[in-house]
Symmetry: C2
Subunit: 157 residues, 2 copies
């Protein structure tokens, strides 16, 4: 590998992302929320999309599953700045892993990905199954789940 | 549904997300880059992780596929602010859809999700297959692809 692999642009300044809405759930505290949306499809939540972004929802009625890209606002600064954590699967041994090899909500970006099932869309409110988010969590983006894009081609069978 | 479904917190201020690195690819312009990483596993790119975040990479050698959450910096302000677009599949008819029902890179958040295959990790550089990103795109987060989290349970079979 040439030496320049690790050179490149200066460290980028923080980028600004404007929330397009927020979620309404029954969970007030991170420690009470289930760890993954796909493990909790019994539970129902809502996304309230701000009026000025509601025009982006057309066609979503044809998307049975969607990604909610969120800002995990309730993670503390200390939790977000740690670069290692003990993943759930290693809780017995207490082994640490780098955060980028885990789905821990404690990560520098504070970005969350929740895969939920759309139940109904009423105006600018999306009702969904699959809750792992704290009430009031800002939603930064919504994308449809697409099989060809979201399963590795070498595992798609 | 109670009336308060659409009430709630004020519109959130933009959140700040600090890039943890950037990608190196052969594509200088958005119009030249393939539309989806999973459609271009023949092509190789690199993620250069800034030194101060390299500690978050431990364990990633056990993750064959990873998500790159990126900031699509080369999308213009006009492109990013439009709430509808013509999806690739509708190019023949020119029909518009809301951006949240498409995977278009032109979206208010400018957030991208690329599912790539890890080839090698050398220090703070991840070599991967599956390129849909323009050279220099900031990387905001890296997460392992996990079958139970990233396939809807009702479609997992």
């Amino acid at each position: 590998m040439p030496e320049q692999t690790t050179s490149g642009p200066e460290v980028h300044q923080p980028v600004q992302v404007r929330p397009i809405g927020y979620v309404v759930t029954d969970y007030a505290r991170p420690q009470d929320a289930p760890p993954q949306a796909t493990e909790n499809y019994r539970d129902t939540g809502r996304v309230v999309v701000y009026d000025q972004f509601a025009g982006g929802l057309s066609g979503l009625e044809n998307c049975p599953h969607i990604w909610l890209l969120t800002w995990l606002h309730s993670q503390g600064e200390d939790e977000a700045s740690a670069l290692t954590c003990v993943p759930r699967g290693l809780a017995m041994t207490g082994e640490h892993r780098g955060v980028f090899s885990t789905r821990s909500p404690n990560r520098p970006s504070r970005l969350g990905m929740s895969l939920v099932r759309v139940v109904d869309i009423v105006g600018n409110v999306i009702h969904f199954h699959g809750v792992d988010l704290v009430n009031g969590t800002p939603v930064l983006d919504i994308k449809p789940w697409v099989r060809s894009t979201d399963i590795p081609p070498d595992l798609a069978g």
